[in-house]
């Protein structure tokens, strides 16, 4: 073997792009991961629309219009649990040890992870939207409304993702990350206005639902798709994702650089 010298050091940006490429490759090789991501929301959409839709909203078509924006929120929030699991898996395999012993920008692997997450949110979101359209959902605000809603959706996914990256960095077993993640998320997602308006709920529950950030996100998504969104609703929906990014991003970076 003849010695191979080191080429000029690549830029931090080039390092990050390389990790983004890794995320894209993963989609090519493991397309079934998308199946996990979209199966539950598809089931929910179908079940709720056809079983409860008529009773809840008068017709299945009207209900679908109401449900779909919230299902999109549910999809990206549940998705971010999987990215925490993926991180925990990678860390357990020693893969990140190799990355950390390379002379590269220390946060590049992480930037790549975010690229993968955004792609996953986008693809899963588009699949759900596609199914909604096939079932007859017609967002009144048309394409601009849908694009606006998707930008908000990605911001929600990006913001909530930090929480699960923290879990992924702290917990060695991916299954525990998943169990913990869903334990926290189930009440948040179901005690929200995703499936029904809280009007008929008992007062204490309605108080919770009205304050639940998931409800704010859902309302803003609905309004964007309906073309009735105000700056206030959108800001309210963004409050939690922004707060989480500000608080948790530094925590994630610190945990990531910390030795294990």
């Amino acid at each position: 073997m003849t010695p191979v010298p080191r080429p000029p050091r690549p830029s931090a940006f080039s390092n990050a792009l390389t990790f983004g490429w890794r995320a894209v490759l993963k989609f090519r090789h493991v397309p079934e991961q998308l199946f996990d991501l979209v199966m539950t929301p598809i089931m929910f959409t179908l079940l709720f629309t056809f079983v409860f839709g008529g009773a809840l909203a008068g017709s299945t078509g009207d209900y679908l219009q109401f449900l779909l924006p919230g299902i999109l929120v549910q999809t990206v929030i549940f998705n971010s649990v999987y990215s925490g699991m993926g991180l925990s898996t990678d860390l357990g395999k020693g893969l990140f040890d190799r990355f950390r012993s390379l002379p590269i920008w220390p946060l590049a692997p992480f930037a790549g992870l975010m690229v993968g997450d955004i792609l996953r949110h986008l693809i899963a979101g588009l699949i759900i939207l596609g199914i909604g359209l096939v079932l007859g959902c017609r967002p009144p605000a048309g394409l601009p409304g849908v694009i606006g809603a998707f930008v908000l959706l990605l911001a929600i996914g990006f913001g909530t993702g930090w929480a699960f990256l923290v879990l992924g960095l702290l917990i060695r077993t991916p299954m525990t990350v998943m169990t913990l993640g869903f334990t926290v998320l189930f009440p948040l997602v179901f005690a929200s206005n995703i499936m029904v308006q809280p009007d008929t709920m008992p007062g204490w529950l309605r108080a919770f639902v009205d304050r639940n950030p998931v409800s704010h996100m859902t309302t803003a998504m609905r309004d964007l798709m309906a073309g009735t969104a105000s700056a206030g609703t959108i800001l309210l929906a963004l409050a939690l994702p922004v707060a989480m990014t500000l608080v948790l991003a530094p925590v994630v970076l610190w945990l990531y650089r910390r030795e294990r």
Binding site: M1, T2, P3, V4, P5, R6, P7, P8, R9, P10, S14, N15, T18, W21, R22, L25, K26, H29, V30, D90, K93, G94, L95, D97, R98, F99, R100, S101, L102, P103, I104, A108, E259, R260
Partner: protein, 320 residues
């Protein structure tokens, strides 16, 4: 390529690392000259991995200092990372990607672009006998193939020092031989190799010098021959026809030879240091006189297992 001043590839002084109350590395000094294969031999939990992670900048020491290829761990960690490569105890590959994609990923991270990165990956695949599996996902690789790819992934750029943490643990004998050949080839091309192992035979086979580590401390260091002679030149191995007499026979041998007797794991053989052939003969005679039936005996040099026993008072654990 690297800083070639001086001859030490690794120079460590008093390196320490604790996890809570546990001193995983309790003050280790080490000098490894350039171009050598150096083995760190120790049982599970001895602190081998932790020591290697300190040298690879993956963990920072609580005390002590070290230079790798002339770069100081504390003041120039990035220069150290540029001069080393590490193949950890557990495969550090992306199982979902193909072997070739794993190598291209790393080649790009090192700074090879486009075509050059692909060419580097293909060269390594053919050098490591993996060309046929280039387009298969790593999760479908055998243990031996994985290990080879993992080592190839450490050689994108020829490192000054290659750290190999238990490179053959869990491999079958054929795969192990293949990895051994690879390691010898690397050292032949001038790469310094620091490897850890629980296999005494592996250290003996590969390394010019061996450091024996136990409970975070270096308890001996030298060539395999030096370690053996430090412990004693000759060992008497005795197998009894009737295993029931093992305890009594142990007593006879210890009285006769004045050294502690070691039993093998299967309780079929006794080994004890014998200063001279005459002393060994006298001990066998005494055994026979005491009524033991000796099925087999031999006088040989100590195995590293016996070296380890003599140094620590406990046999190395065999579980991985």
């Amino acid at each position: 390529m690297q800083d070639d001043t001086g001859t030490a590839a690794i120079r460590a002084r008093g390196l320490k690392k604790s996890f809570g109350d546990l001193e995983a590395v309790a003050g280790i000094d080490l000098d490894v000259p350039k171009g050598e294969i150096f083995a760190i031999l120790g049982p599970n939990g001895a602190g081998k991995t932790t020591f290697m992670r300190l040298l690879a900048t993956l963990a920072s020491p609580d005390a002590g200092e070290a230079q790798v290829m002339g770069h100081d761990l504390a003041s120039a960690p990035d220069a150290v990372r540029g001069a080393i490569a590490m193949t950890g105890q557990f495969a550090s590959l992306d199982e979902d990607l193909t072997g070739r994609e794993n190598l291209i990923l790393l080649a790009r991270l090192w700074g090879f672009r486009g075509r050059a990165a692909r060419a580097r990956a293909d060269d390594l695949l053919s050098e490591f006998d993996l060309s046929d599996a280039a387009h298969r996902q790593v999760k479908d690789y055998s243990g031996g193939m994985r290990r080879r790819l993992d080592i190839a992934a450490s050689l994108i750029v020829t490192p000054g020092v290659l750290f190999l943490d238990e490179p053959t643990t869990g491999l079958d004998p054929t795969a192990r031989q293949k990895v051994w050949r690879l390691i010898r080839g690397l050292a032949g091309s001038g790469v310094t190799v620091l490897l850890t192992t629980q296999y005494l035979e592996e250290a003996d086979q590969l390394a010019r010098r061996i450091a024996v580590v136990d409970k975070g401390r270096k308890i001996a260091e030298g060539t395999s021959r030096e370690l053996k002679s430090a412990v004693g030149s000759g060992f008497l191995h005795v197998a009894l026809a009737d295993p029931a007499g093992l305890d009594a026979a142990t007593e006879v041998l210890e009285t006769q030879l004045g050294h502690k007797v070691q039993r093998n794991a299967e309780d079929t053989r006794l080994s004890v240091m014998a200063e001279t052939p005459e002393a060994a003969t006298a001990a066998i005679t005494a055994l026979l006189a005491a009524g033991h039936e000796v099925a087999d005996f031999a006088l040989g040099s100590p195995s590293l297992e016996e070296v380890f026993f003599a140094l620590t008072g406990t046999p190395p654990e065999d579980d991985a």
